[in-house]
Protein backbone atom coordinates (compact mmCIF):
# COMPACT_ATOMS: atom_id res chain seq x y z
CA UNK A 1 0.00 0.00 0.00
CA UNK A 2 1.19 3.49 -0.86
CA UNK A 3 0.54 6.32 1.57
CA UNK A 4 1.37 9.90 0.70
CA UNK A 5 1.17 12.57 3.38
CA UNK A 6 1.10 16.31 2.90
CA UNK A 7 3.55 16.59 -0.01
CA UNK A 8 4.56 20.19 -0.61
CA UNK A 9 6.93 21.49 -3.23
CA UNK A 10 7.91 24.98 -4.32
CA UNK A 11 10.09 26.10 -7.19
CA UNK A 12 11.50 29.40 -5.97
CA UNK A 13 8.50 31.49 -5.06
CA UNK A 14 5.84 29.39 -6.78
CA UNK A 15 4.26 26.72 -4.65
CA UNK A 16 3.43 23.91 -7.06
CA UNK A 17 2.21 21.24 -4.63
CA UNK A 18 0.32 22.60 -1.64
CA UNK A 19 -0.19 19.52 0.49
CA UNK A 20 -1.09 16.32 -1.35
CA UNK A 21 -2.46 13.37 0.65
CA UNK A 22 -3.71 10.09 -0.72
CA UNK A 23 -3.60 6.35 -0.20
CA UNK A 24 -3.41 3.66 -2.83
CA UNK A 25 -4.12 0.01 -2.12
CA UNK A 26 -2.28 -2.83 -3.81
CA UNK A 27 -3.71 -3.69 -7.17
CA UNK A 28 -5.55 -0.41 -7.50
CA UNK A 29 -5.25 1.99 -10.38
CA UNK A 30 -5.26 5.66 -9.53
CA UNK A 31 -5.87 8.09 -12.35
CA UNK A 32 -4.86 11.71 -11.87
CA UNK A 33 -6.51 14.34 -14.01
CA UNK A 34 -6.24 18.10 -13.92
CA UNK A 35 -5.49 21.04 -16.11
CA UNK A 36 -2.03 22.00 -17.32
CA UNK A 37 0.20 23.33 -14.57
CA UNK A 38 -1.82 21.82 -11.73
CA UNK A 39 1.24 19.87 -10.52
CA UNK A 40 0.55 16.32 -11.77
CA UNK A 41 3.99 15.81 -13.24
CA UNK A 42 5.65 17.32 -10.18
CA UNK A 43 3.78 14.85 -7.98
CA UNK A 44 4.90 11.84 -10.03
CA UNK A 45 8.45 13.18 -10.14
CA UNK A 46 8.38 13.54 -6.37
CA UNK A 47 7.31 9.93 -5.93
CA UNK A 48 10.17 8.88 -8.19
CA UNK A 49 12.78 10.99 -6.38
CA UNK A 50 13.35 13.22 -9.38
CA UNK A 51 12.20 16.13 -7.23
CA UNK A 52 12.68 16.41 -3.50
CA UNK A 53 9.51 17.63 -1.79
CA UNK A 54 9.97 20.41 0.77
CA UNK A 55 7.56 18.73 3.14
CA UNK A 56 5.73 15.46 3.41
CA UNK A 57 6.15 11.75 3.77
CA UNK A 58 5.92 8.76 1.43
CA UNK A 59 5.28 5.30 2.85
CA UNK A 60 5.22 2.07 0.83
CA UNK A 61 4.03 -1.11 2.52
CA UNK A 62 4.57 0.44 5.93
CA UNK A 63 8.13 1.45 5.16
CA UNK A 64 8.90 5.18 5.15
CA UNK A 65 10.85 5.77 1.96
CA UNK A 66 10.79 9.54 2.11
CA UNK A 67 10.38 11.94 4.99
CA UNK A 68 11.19 15.59 4.47
CA UNK A 69 11.60 16.18 8.21
CA UNK A 70 14.19 13.39 8.54
CA UNK A 71 17.86 13.89 7.63
CA UNK A 72 18.56 13.63 3.92
CA UNK A 73 18.95 10.07 2.67
CA UNK A 74 22.25 8.83 1.28
CA UNK A 75 22.40 8.26 -2.47
CA UNK A 76 22.47 4.50 -1.96
CA UNK A 77 19.30 4.45 0.17
CA UNK A 78 17.57 6.85 -2.17
CA UNK A 79 18.43 4.55 -5.05
CA UNK A 80 17.05 1.56 -3.19
CA UNK A 81 13.85 3.40 -2.30
CA UNK A 82 13.14 4.79 -5.72
CA UNK A 83 13.01 1.24 -7.06
CA UNK A 84 9.64 0.91 -5.34
CA UNK A 85 8.40 3.12 -8.14
CA UNK A 86 8.65 2.91 -11.88
CA UNK A 87 8.05 5.83 -14.20
CA UNK A 88 6.98 5.90 -17.83
CA UNK A 89 7.66 9.28 -19.40
CA UNK A 90 5.62 11.22 -21.88
CA UNK A 91 8.63 11.33 -24.21
CA UNK A 92 9.61 7.63 -23.75
CA UNK A 93 13.30 8.41 -23.09
CA UNK A 94 14.57 5.11 -24.42
CA UNK A 95 18.36 4.85 -24.68
CA UNK A 96 19.00 5.36 -28.42
CA UNK A 97 22.31 3.51 -28.59
CA UNK A 98 20.85 0.22 -27.39
CA UNK A 99 18.44 -2.23 -28.96
CA UNK A 100 14.97 -2.50 -27.49
CA UNK A 101 15.99 -5.71 -25.75
CA UNK A 102 19.09 -4.10 -24.24
CA UNK A 103 17.01 -1.14 -23.08
CA UNK A 104 14.94 -3.59 -21.05
CA UNK A 105 17.76 -5.75 -19.69
CA UNK A 106 20.37 -3.09 -18.88
CA UNK A 107 19.24 -1.75 -15.50
CA UNK A 108 18.02 -5.12 -14.26
CA UNK A 109 21.32 -6.75 -15.08
CA UNK A 110 23.29 -4.05 -13.27
CA UNK A 111 21.08 -4.43 -10.21
CA UNK A 112 21.28 -8.24 -10.17
CA UNK A 113 25.07 -8.12 -10.41
CA UNK A 114 25.15 -5.61 -7.58
CA UNK A 115 22.88 -7.75 -5.42
CA UNK A 116 24.97 -10.84 -6.02
CA UNK A 117 28.08 -8.89 -5.11
CA UNK A 118 26.53 -7.69 -1.87
CA UNK A 119 25.50 -11.24 -0.98
CA UNK A 120 28.75 -13.01 -1.76
CA UNK A 121 31.06 -10.14 -0.92
CA UNK A 122 32.94 -10.28 -4.20
CA UNK A 123 32.52 -9.60 -7.87
CA UNK A 124 30.60 -12.35 -9.65
CA UNK A 125 32.71 -14.42 -12.00
CA UNK A 126 32.41 -13.96 -15.72
CA UNK A 127 30.44 -17.17 -16.03
CA UNK A 128 28.05 -16.07 -13.28
CA UNK A 129 27.62 -12.71 -14.99
CA UNK A 130 26.70 -14.47 -18.19
CA UNK A 131 24.13 -16.48 -16.26
CA UNK A 132 22.64 -13.31 -14.77
CA UNK A 133 22.55 -11.72 -18.19
CA UNK A 134 20.77 -14.77 -19.53
CA UNK A 135 18.14 -14.67 -16.79
CA UNK A 136 17.54 -10.94 -17.31
CA UNK A 137 17.24 -11.46 -21.02
CA UNK A 138 14.68 -14.21 -20.57
CA UNK A 139 12.60 -11.91 -18.40
CA UNK A 140 12.98 -9.04 -20.86
CA UNK A 141 11.86 -11.21 -23.78
CA UNK A 142 8.81 -12.27 -21.87
CA UNK A 143 7.93 -8.66 -21.06
CA UNK A 144 8.47 -7.53 -24.63
CA UNK A 145 6.18 -10.28 -25.87
CA UNK A 146 3.61 -9.14 -23.37
CA UNK A 147 3.63 -5.60 -24.79
CA UNK A 148 3.54 -7.00 -28.31
CA UNK A 149 7.09 -6.23 -29.39
CA UNK A 150 8.41 -9.73 -30.08
CA UNK A 151 9.23 -8.63 -33.64
CA UNK A 152 11.15 -5.51 -32.63
CA UNK A 153 13.45 -6.72 -29.87
CA UNK A 154 16.60 -6.31 -31.88
CA UNK A 155 15.70 -2.98 -33.41
CA UNK A 156 16.95 0.38 -32.22
CA UNK A 157 14.48 2.86 -30.77
CA UNK A 158 14.69 5.20 -33.77
CA UNK A 159 13.36 2.37 -35.94
CA UNK A 160 10.16 2.13 -33.88
CA UNK A 161 6.92 4.07 -34.05
CA UNK A 162 6.01 6.24 -31.08
CA UNK A 163 3.54 3.68 -29.81
CA UNK A 164 6.11 0.91 -30.06
CA UNK A 165 8.68 3.05 -28.28
CA UNK A 166 6.27 3.74 -25.47
CA UNK A 167 5.45 0.04 -25.13
CA UNK A 168 9.18 -0.69 -24.97
CA UNK A 169 9.49 1.94 -22.25
CA UNK A 170 6.71 0.22 -20.32
CA UNK A 171 8.52 -3.12 -20.60
CA UNK A 172 11.68 -1.42 -19.42
CA UNK A 173 9.94 -0.09 -16.33
CA UNK A 174 8.30 -3.46 -15.63
CA UNK A 175 11.67 -5.24 -15.77
CA UNK A 176 12.50 -3.91 -12.32
CA UNK A 177 9.16 -5.10 -10.87
CA UNK A 178 8.25 -1.81 -9.15
CA UNK A 179 5.57 -1.84 -6.45
CA UNK A 180 3.89 1.16 -8.06
CA UNK A 181 4.17 1.94 -11.74
CA UNK A 182 3.61 5.59 -12.67
CA UNK A 183 2.68 6.92 -16.10
CA UNK A 184 3.00 10.61 -16.95
CA UNK A 185 0.71 11.25 -19.91
CA UNK A 186 2.00 8.15 -21.68
CA UNK A 187 0.04 8.83 -24.85
CA UNK A 188 0.06 12.58 -25.27
CA UNK A 189 3.02 12.45 -27.66
CA UNK A 190 1.22 9.89 -29.84
CA UNK A 191 -1.19 9.91 -32.76
CA UNK A 192 -4.69 8.65 -31.94
CA UNK A 193 -4.18 5.24 -33.59
CA UNK A 194 -0.97 4.68 -31.66
CA UNK A 195 -2.59 5.86 -28.44
CA UNK A 196 -4.92 2.87 -28.39
CA UNK A 197 -2.16 0.25 -28.55
CA UNK A 198 -0.48 1.81 -25.52
CA UNK A 199 -3.71 2.13 -23.57
CA UNK A 200 -4.43 -1.49 -24.32
CA UNK A 201 -1.14 -2.48 -22.69
CA UNK A 202 -1.95 -0.42 -19.61
CA UNK A 203 -5.37 -2.04 -19.42
CA UNK A 204 -3.77 -5.48 -19.59
CA UNK A 205 -1.51 -4.50 -16.69
CA UNK A 206 -4.58 -3.63 -14.68
CA UNK A 207 -5.91 -7.11 -15.39
CA UNK A 208 -2.74 -8.45 -13.78
CA UNK A 209 -3.59 -6.41 -10.69
CA UNK A 210 -0.63 -4.08 -10.91
CA UNK A 211 -0.66 -1.01 -8.71
CA UNK A 212 -0.49 2.00 -10.98
CA UNK A 213 -0.77 5.76 -11.01
CA UNK A 214 -1.71 7.18 -14.39
CA UNK A 215 -1.72 10.85 -15.29
CA UNK A 216 -3.74 11.18 -18.46
CA UNK A 217 -5.95 13.44 -20.54
CA UNK A 218 -7.77 10.42 -22.04
CA UNK A 219 -11.02 10.69 -20.10
CA UNK A 220 -12.69 7.73 -21.76
CA UNK A 221 -9.74 5.53 -20.86
CA UNK A 222 -9.53 7.03 -17.37
CA UNK A 223 -13.13 6.18 -16.56
CA UNK A 224 -12.61 2.57 -17.66
CA UNK A 225 -9.27 1.77 -16.09
CA UNK A 226 -9.44 3.75 -12.86
CA UNK A 227 -10.38 2.37 -9.48
CA UNK A 228 -10.03 5.85 -8.10
CA UNK A 229 -9.69 9.25 -9.69
CA UNK A 230 -8.02 12.36 -8.31
CA UNK A 231 -8.74 15.75 -9.80
CA UNK A 232 -5.90 18.18 -9.16
CA UNK A 233 -6.14 21.92 -9.48
CA UNK A 234 -3.61 24.51 -8.46
CA UNK A 235 -1.43 22.13 -6.45
CA UNK A 236 -4.17 20.57 -4.34
CA UNK A 237 -6.51 17.60 -4.68
CA UNK A 238 -9.82 19.26 -5.48
CA UNK A 239 -11.92 16.13 -5.82
CA UNK A 240 -11.37 12.47 -5.29
CA UNK A 241 -13.49 9.36 -5.70
CA UNK A 242 -14.55 6.50 -7.90
CA UNK A 243 -14.74 7.21 -11.63
CA UNK A 244 -18.54 7.25 -11.33
CA UNK A 245 -18.36 9.94 -8.65
CA UNK A 246 -15.74 12.10 -10.30
CA UNK A 247 -16.93 11.84 -13.90
CA UNK A 248 -20.63 11.23 -13.28
CA UNK A 249 -21.24 13.61 -10.45
CA UNK A 250 -18.64 16.39 -10.30
CA UNK A 251 -19.14 18.75 -7.36
CA UNK A 252 -16.75 21.67 -7.79
CA UNK A 253 -17.20 24.12 -10.60
CA UNK A 254 -13.51 23.69 -11.45
CA UNK A 255 -14.01 19.99 -12.19
CA UNK A 256 -17.23 20.66 -14.11
CA UNK A 257 -15.43 23.21 -16.27
CA UNK A 258 -12.48 20.86 -16.73
CA UNK A 259 -14.68 17.95 -17.82
CA UNK A 260 -16.73 20.12 -20.14
CA UNK A 261 -13.51 21.32 -21.69
CA UNK A 262 -12.02 17.89 -22.29
CA UNK A 263 -15.01 16.51 -24.13
Amino acid sequence: MLEVFDIRKSFGKTEVLKGIDFKLHDGEVLVIIGSSGSGKTTLLRSLNFLETPDEGKIIVDGETIFDASAPELSDAVKRQNRLKFGLVFQSFNLFPQYTVLRNVTLANELLCIEKERAQTGRKPSRARKAEIAYECEAKARELLCRVGLEQKMNNYPFELSGGQQQRAAIARALALSPSVLCFDEPTSALDPELTQEVLKVIRSLKDENRTMIVVTHEMEFASHVADRVIFMADGVIKEEGTPEEVFGNPKSSALKAFLAHSK
Binding site: R82, F85, N93, P96, L111, Y156
Partner: protein, 251 residues
Protein backbone atom coordinates in the same frame (compact mmCIF):
# COMPACT_ATOMS: atom_id res chain seq x y z
CA UNK B 1 76.43 20.87 -47.51
CA UNK B 2 72.71 20.35 -48.27
CA UNK B 3 71.98 17.90 -51.04
CA UNK B 4 69.35 19.55 -53.25
CA UNK B 5 68.24 16.49 -55.22
CA UNK B 6 64.56 15.56 -55.03
CA UNK B 7 65.23 12.24 -53.32
CA UNK B 8 67.53 13.75 -50.72
CA UNK B 9 65.07 16.54 -49.94
CA UNK B 10 62.19 14.10 -49.70
CA UNK B 11 64.04 11.84 -47.31
CA UNK B 12 65.17 14.77 -45.22
CA UNK B 13 61.66 16.24 -45.01
CA UNK B 14 60.17 12.86 -44.31
CA UNK B 15 62.52 12.37 -41.39
CA UNK B 16 61.62 15.72 -39.89
CA UNK B 17 57.92 15.05 -40.49
CA UNK B 18 58.44 12.22 -38.02
CA UNK B 19 58.76 14.95 -35.39
CA UNK B 20 55.38 16.37 -36.43
CA UNK B 21 53.83 12.90 -36.20
CA UNK B 22 55.42 12.26 -32.81
CA UNK B 23 54.05 15.53 -31.51
CA UNK B 24 50.64 14.85 -33.07
CA UNK B 25 50.13 11.38 -31.65
CA UNK B 26 51.56 12.19 -28.21
CA UNK B 27 49.37 15.28 -27.93
CA UNK B 28 46.30 13.32 -28.95
CA UNK B 29 46.90 10.47 -26.51
CA UNK B 30 47.52 12.82 -23.58
CA UNK B 31 45.08 15.65 -24.34
CA UNK B 32 42.02 13.45 -24.86
CA UNK B 33 41.90 12.20 -21.23
CA UNK B 34 43.25 15.45 -19.75
CA UNK B 35 40.48 17.31 -21.55
CA UNK B 36 37.88 15.06 -19.95
CA UNK B 37 39.40 15.78 -16.54
CA UNK B 38 39.26 19.54 -17.17
CA UNK B 39 35.71 19.15 -18.46
CA UNK B 40 34.61 17.40 -15.26
CA UNK B 41 36.42 20.06 -13.27
CA UNK B 42 34.69 22.91 -15.04
CA UNK B 43 31.32 21.25 -14.40
CA UNK B 44 32.12 20.48 -10.75
CA UNK B 45 29.43 21.58 -8.34
CA UNK B 46 31.71 21.31 -5.30
CA UNK B 47 30.88 24.24 -2.98
CA UNK B 48 33.12 24.09 0.11
CA UNK B 49 31.49 27.19 1.64
CA UNK B 50 27.96 25.94 1.20
CA UNK B 51 27.38 26.03 4.97
CA UNK B 52 27.38 29.85 4.76
CA UNK B 53 24.08 29.68 2.85
CA UNK B 54 22.46 28.13 5.92
CA UNK B 55 23.44 31.02 8.23
CA UNK B 56 20.63 33.30 9.31
CA UNK B 57 22.61 36.28 8.05
CA UNK B 58 22.55 34.78 4.53
CA UNK B 59 18.79 34.65 4.37
CA UNK B 60 17.29 36.87 1.69
CA UNK B 61 13.62 37.73 2.07
CA UNK B 62 11.38 37.32 -0.94
CA UNK B 63 9.63 40.61 -0.28
CA UNK B 64 11.18 42.71 -3.03
CA UNK B 65 13.27 44.79 -0.61
CA UNK B 66 16.94 45.25 -1.34
CA UNK B 67 18.79 42.48 0.54
CA UNK B 68 21.49 43.36 3.06
CA UNK B 69 25.09 43.52 1.83
CA UNK B 70 26.28 40.75 4.17
CA UNK B 71 23.55 38.45 2.91
CA UNK B 72 24.56 39.05 -0.70
CA UNK B 73 28.23 38.39 0.09
CA UNK B 74 27.46 35.24 2.09
CA UNK B 75 25.32 33.93 -0.75
CA UNK B 76 27.99 34.65 -3.34
CA UNK B 77 30.74 32.99 -1.27
CA UNK B 78 28.47 30.08 -0.34
CA UNK B 79 27.71 29.47 -4.00
CA UNK B 80 31.36 29.72 -5.03
CA UNK B 81 32.59 26.64 -6.90
CA UNK B 82 36.39 26.79 -6.70
CA UNK B 83 37.20 23.77 -8.89
CA UNK B 84 34.89 24.93 -11.65
CA UNK B 85 36.25 28.48 -11.36
CA UNK B 86 39.89 27.37 -11.64
CA UNK B 87 39.20 25.09 -14.58
CA UNK B 88 37.25 27.74 -16.45
CA UNK B 89 39.96 30.31 -15.76
CA UNK B 90 42.58 27.97 -17.21
CA UNK B 91 40.45 27.27 -20.26
CA UNK B 92 39.83 30.99 -20.77
CA UNK B 93 43.57 31.80 -20.62
CA UNK B 94 44.60 28.92 -22.88
CA UNK B 95 41.94 29.60 -25.49
CA UNK B 96 42.40 33.35 -25.25
CA UNK B 97 46.11 33.45 -26.08
CA UNK B 98 48.05 32.22 -29.13
CA UNK B 99 49.48 28.72 -29.05
CA UNK B 100 52.67 30.27 -30.38
CA UNK B 101 52.96 32.40 -27.25
CA UNK B 102 52.23 29.39 -25.05
CA UNK B 103 55.10 27.54 -26.70
CA UNK B 104 57.47 30.35 -25.79
CA UNK B 105 56.14 30.48 -22.25
CA UNK B 106 56.55 26.75 -21.63
CA UNK B 107 59.99 26.77 -23.19
CA UNK B 108 61.46 29.85 -21.54
CA UNK B 109 59.62 30.48 -18.27
CA UNK B 110 60.81 27.41 -16.29
CA UNK B 111 64.43 28.29 -17.04
CA UNK B 112 64.15 32.05 -16.59
CA UNK B 113 61.94 32.13 -13.52
CA UNK B 114 62.59 28.87 -11.69
CA UNK B 115 66.05 28.15 -13.02
CA UNK B 116 64.81 24.74 -14.18
CA UNK B 117 65.25 24.82 -17.94
CA UNK B 118 63.33 22.21 -19.90
CA UNK B 119 65.92 19.86 -21.31
CA UNK B 120 64.45 18.88 -24.63
CA UNK B 121 62.60 21.14 -26.98
CA UNK B 122 60.20 18.36 -27.85
CA UNK B 123 59.11 18.04 -24.20
CA UNK B 124 58.38 21.76 -24.03
CA UNK B 125 56.39 21.62 -27.26
CA UNK B 126 54.48 18.57 -26.04
CA UNK B 127 53.55 20.22 -22.73
CA UNK B 128 52.28 23.34 -24.49
CA UNK B 129 50.33 21.33 -27.07
CA UNK B 130 48.76 18.99 -24.54
CA UNK B 131 47.56 21.83 -22.32
CA UNK B 132 46.30 23.82 -25.29
CA UNK B 133 44.41 20.97 -26.92
CA UNK B 134 43.08 19.62 -23.62
CA UNK B 135 41.49 23.03 -23.06
CA UNK B 136 39.78 22.93 -26.47
CA UNK B 137 38.76 19.29 -26.07
CA UNK B 138 37.31 20.00 -22.61
CA UNK B 139 34.97 22.59 -24.08
CA UNK B 140 33.85 20.18 -26.79
CA UNK B 141 33.20 17.50 -24.17
CA UNK B 142 31.32 19.99 -22.03
CA UNK B 143 29.18 21.09 -24.95
CA UNK B 144 28.40 17.44 -25.72
CA UNK B 145 27.48 16.59 -22.14
CA UNK B 146 25.41 19.73 -21.62
CA UNK B 147 23.51 19.16 -24.86
CA UNK B 148 22.20 15.84 -23.54
CA UNK B 149 18.48 15.88 -22.88
CA UNK B 150 17.60 15.72 -19.20
CA UNK B 151 15.23 12.83 -19.94
CA UNK B 152 18.11 10.43 -20.56
CA UNK B 153 19.59 11.06 -17.10
CA UNK B 154 16.18 10.85 -15.49
CA UNK B 155 15.18 7.64 -17.23
CA UNK B 156 18.43 6.02 -16.14
CA UNK B 157 18.11 7.33 -12.57
CA UNK B 158 14.56 6.10 -12.25
CA UNK B 159 15.84 2.66 -13.26
CA UNK B 160 18.05 2.70 -10.18
CA UNK B 161 21.41 3.33 -11.85
CA UNK B 162 24.20 4.95 -9.87
CA UNK B 163 25.64 8.23 -11.10
CA UNK B 164 28.65 6.36 -12.47
CA UNK B 165 26.44 3.87 -14.29
CA UNK B 166 24.30 6.64 -15.72
CA UNK B 167 27.38 8.31 -17.12
CA UNK B 168 29.21 5.28 -18.47
CA UNK B 169 26.26 3.13 -19.57
CA UNK B 170 23.88 5.75 -20.93
CA UNK B 171 25.38 9.19 -21.42
CA UNK B 172 28.94 8.61 -22.60
CA UNK B 173 28.16 6.79 -25.86
CA UNK B 174 25.68 9.46 -26.88
CA UNK B 175 28.08 12.25 -26.04
CA UNK B 176 30.87 10.58 -28.00
CA UNK B 177 28.62 10.32 -31.03
CA UNK B 178 27.84 14.01 -30.79
CA UNK B 179 31.40 15.21 -30.36
CA UNK B 180 33.03 13.19 -33.12
CA UNK B 181 32.44 15.88 -35.79
CA UNK B 182 33.78 18.85 -33.77
CA UNK B 183 36.65 16.70 -32.48
CA UNK B 184 37.54 15.77 -36.05
CA UNK B 185 37.96 19.46 -36.82
CA UNK B 186 40.28 19.98 -33.89
CA UNK B 187 42.31 16.88 -34.71
CA UNK B 188 42.86 18.01 -38.28
CA UNK B 189 43.90 21.43 -37.00
CA UNK B 190 46.31 19.73 -34.62
CA UNK B 191 48.09 18.04 -37.53
CA UNK B 192 48.82 21.43 -39.05
CA UNK B 193 49.57 23.16 -35.75
CA UNK B 194 52.47 20.82 -35.09
CA UNK B 195 54.50 22.99 -37.47
CA UNK B 196 54.35 25.79 -34.89
CA UNK B 197 56.85 23.85 -32.79
CA UNK B 198 59.60 25.21 -35.03
CA UNK B 199 59.53 28.51 -33.10
CA UNK B 200 61.29 26.77 -30.24
CA UNK B 201 63.52 24.96 -32.72
CA UNK B 202 61.91 21.55 -32.71
CA UNK B 203 63.36 20.06 -35.92
CA UNK B 204 59.99 19.53 -37.55
CA UNK B 205 59.29 19.60 -41.27
CA UNK B 206 58.93 23.34 -41.86
CA UNK B 207 62.06 23.95 -39.86
CA UNK B 208 63.86 21.52 -42.14
CA UNK B 209 62.46 23.17 -45.26
CA UNK B 210 63.50 26.60 -44.01
CA UNK B 211 67.10 25.42 -43.93
CA UNK B 212 66.85 24.94 -47.71
CA UNK B 213 65.08 28.20 -48.38
CA UNK B 214 67.61 30.22 -46.37
CA UNK B 215 70.20 28.70 -48.69
CA UNK B 216 68.26 29.86 -51.73
CA UNK B 217 66.30 26.66 -52.45
CA UNK B 218 62.64 27.56 -52.06
CA UNK B 219 60.62 24.65 -53.47
CA UNK B 220 61.08 22.30 -50.46
CA UNK B 221 59.11 24.83 -48.43
CA UNK B 222 56.08 24.41 -50.68
CA UNK B 223 56.69 20.71 -50.95
CA UNK B 224 56.00 20.30 -47.21
CA UNK B 225 52.33 21.04 -47.90
CA UNK B 226 52.05 17.68 -49.62
CA UNK B 227 53.13 15.86 -46.46
CA UNK B 228 50.42 17.57 -44.43
CA UNK B 229 47.82 16.96 -47.11
CA UNK B 230 48.53 13.27 -47.40
CA UNK B 231 48.63 12.69 -43.67
CA UNK B 232 45.46 14.69 -43.09
CA UNK B 233 43.82 12.66 -45.85
CA UNK B 234 44.58 9.51 -43.86
CA UNK B 235 43.37 11.12 -40.64
CA UNK B 236 40.14 12.13 -42.35
CA UNK B 237 39.54 8.58 -43.55
CA UNK B 238 40.02 7.23 -40.03
CA UNK B 239 37.74 9.88 -38.51
CA UNK B 240 35.04 9.14 -41.05
CA UNK B 241 35.28 5.47 -40.11
CA UNK B 242 34.79 6.43 -36.47
CA UNK B 243 31.79 8.58 -37.34
CA UNK B 244 30.31 5.73 -39.36
CA UNK B 245 30.78 3.36 -36.44
CA UNK B 246 28.31 5.48 -34.51
CA UNK B 247 25.94 5.75 -37.43
CA UNK B 248 23.96 2.63 -36.54
CA UNK B 249 21.60 4.65 -34.35
CA UNK B 250 20.11 8.13 -34.23
CA UNK B 251 19.90 10.23 -31.09
Amino acid sequence: MLNPTFTAVTLNLLESFGQNLLLFFSTLVLALPLGLLICFGSMSKFRPFRFLLKLDAAHIEDNGEKPRFTAVVLNAVGDFKPIAAICRLIVWIIRGTPLLLQLYVVFYVPGLVFNMPIRTRMTAALIAFVINYAAYFSEIYRGGIESMARGQYEAAQVLGMTKTQVFFKVILMQVVKRIVPPMSNEIITLVKDTSLARVIAVPEILKAAERYSSNGLVWPLFYTGLFFLIFNGLVTIVLEKVEKAFGYYKN
